[in-house]
Amino acid sequence: MKLIFEKSVPGRHCDLLGKCDVAAAELPQKYLRATPPELPELSEVDVSRHYTELNQHVHGVNCGFYPLGSCTMKYNPRVDEEMAALPGFTAVHPLAPEAHTRGCRAVLDTAAQYLCEISGMDAMTFQPAAGAHGEFTGVLLIKQYHDARGDTARRKIIVPDSAHGTNPATAAMCGFEVVNIPSAPDGCVDLDALKAALGEDTAGLMLTNPNTVGIFDENILEITKLVHEAGGLCYYDGANLNAVMGVVRPGDMGFDCIHMNLHKTFATPHGGGGPGAGAVGCKEFLKPYLPASALMDGAGKKQVRAFAGNFLVVVRALTYLMTLGCEGVPEAAKNAVLNANYLMQRVKGTFEPAFDRICMHEFVLDLSEYKKETGVSALDVAKSLIDYGMHPPTMYFPLIVHEALMLEPTETESKQTLDWAADVFRKLYALGKTDSETMHAAPHHAQIGRPDEVKAARNPIVRWYNDSETETVRGAGN
């Protein structure tokens, strides 16, 4: 399809923006640009059709099955959107008089209380804008704790090799040295490797449980005990909380602080770049180091973002929690686990699970043997799924499994959808054995075929060029 710039017709316009009701301010000449910006000129119907066409080119959870492992692409109830659109929440300013913001503060307090209950923590901040920001904030709490005690020799954060890449990145951004420990053959933490890595220089451990291959680490109490005995703290990455919310609490597993992705686990559409909310919770002894808004909560507070963070994401999370209630939240987690196990068992016998045991909310298929036999890679299978109207699973992650496909069906999918998905996987398994060429070239029926990913990465064209630029500028990139 054409870009919106390519659809532009000089002189065409629309009235989507209302009339300006204040006097135009005169900017000093020195700040004005010499040439007008090259903006597309379109009528309202042009704009409407453009975005509708774009919408037809993408696949969201509203279009079909979306088992993107580790991303929890579950369907978000409409009521959560409706609550977040209430004018009382959208038309409020954080600096409005206290009497005008009591409702919003009640939302924040109630959501904090519920999320503390679910996570087993004592205090919560909603400032971090998303997961990685939450990790950064959480690990800074650990740093502050050690520094405040004068225990400044603790420079190392331990991260298992199956972790999300954000974990070692977070530790490094916080100024720590990252110690990578290998996983045991079952994908869980290798206790001997952990013991060997622990010492007087250990600041803490970052862990997800269930872990990245969808397995609940049964040694978790031993793991957190060992870290605490060495003088370190335990950070829980809430990426996989959807499997255990309302069932088991990270605080009871021995974790000292945690972030939760409200935008994945607690109902905000995600994958589009935001906004999100990486709520950070901690035990009482870390509470003094939690960030807060200096303007809203009093002077002297350290903050990681303005005011209360992405407030409307918290409104959605609270709505989600209140509509599900204390029975619905664990039921959602249990259904997520049930769905993943059901799908894994239905696919098994064709593509094989990397770890053949009961999984949590997600599982990993290992296609390395299949690739050796047929030449069909995890990428080929992922691309072939697109022809069936299914979003591909996560590919080539976690790194400890070669030719990995990681599936997370989520709790909102029906048995019929899971049966259909399993049948598609079985069909593709058979197809690869007889006709690998078809799969190498997939997808065949999508709007876009198989892009040249290598060329796209080496010579990316990331912006639009007008006719006069095309020759001179764009030519260089090709």
Binding site: S368, K372, L379, M395, Y396, F397, H402, V454, A457, R458
Partner: protein, 125 residues
């Protein structure tokens, strides 16, 4: 592609050509095949210290990002900056395209000869 006998290898799939006190370092044919088409390389600077068993840079393919692990310790005395614009040279000629040269000091990792490295690759599949 045959694994050159004159080179030494690591279990993390780097090769080292040791001449006197200087080690030239690259990645093996097995490594470039497993990674797939390389699109980006992050290189150290001349004068940086390389430590045996620790990362000195990283490589990015369309699949994943991987650390480059140094087989030896010492001071990095040359960096193949041509790779910055053309990381595909590592795909095209893995044993010809070197990444860094290290003026060695102190210990080296335990390195494998070509036969032992082939056996390792066979085992990993």
């Amino acid at each position: 592609m045959a694994t050159p006998n004159e080179l030494k290898y690591t279990s993390t799939h780097e090769w080292a050509k040791i001449e006197g006190n200087t080690a030239t370092i690259g990645i093996s044919d097995h490594a470039q095949q497993a990674l797939g088409d390389l699109v980006f390389i992050n290189l150290p600077q001349e004068g940086d210290e390389a430590v045996a068993g620790e990362a000195f840079g990283d490589l990015e393919s369309v699949k994943a990002v991987s650390d480059l692990i140094s087989p030896v310790s010492g001071t990095i005395c040359a960096v193949n900056e041509a790779l910055l614009d053309a990381p595909e040279m590592l795909n095209e000629d893995p044993y010809g395209a070197w990444i860094i040269k290290v003026e060695m000091s102190g210990e080296t990792e335990e390195l494998l000869d070509a036969a032992a490295y082939d056996a390792l690759c066979e085992q990993e599949g």
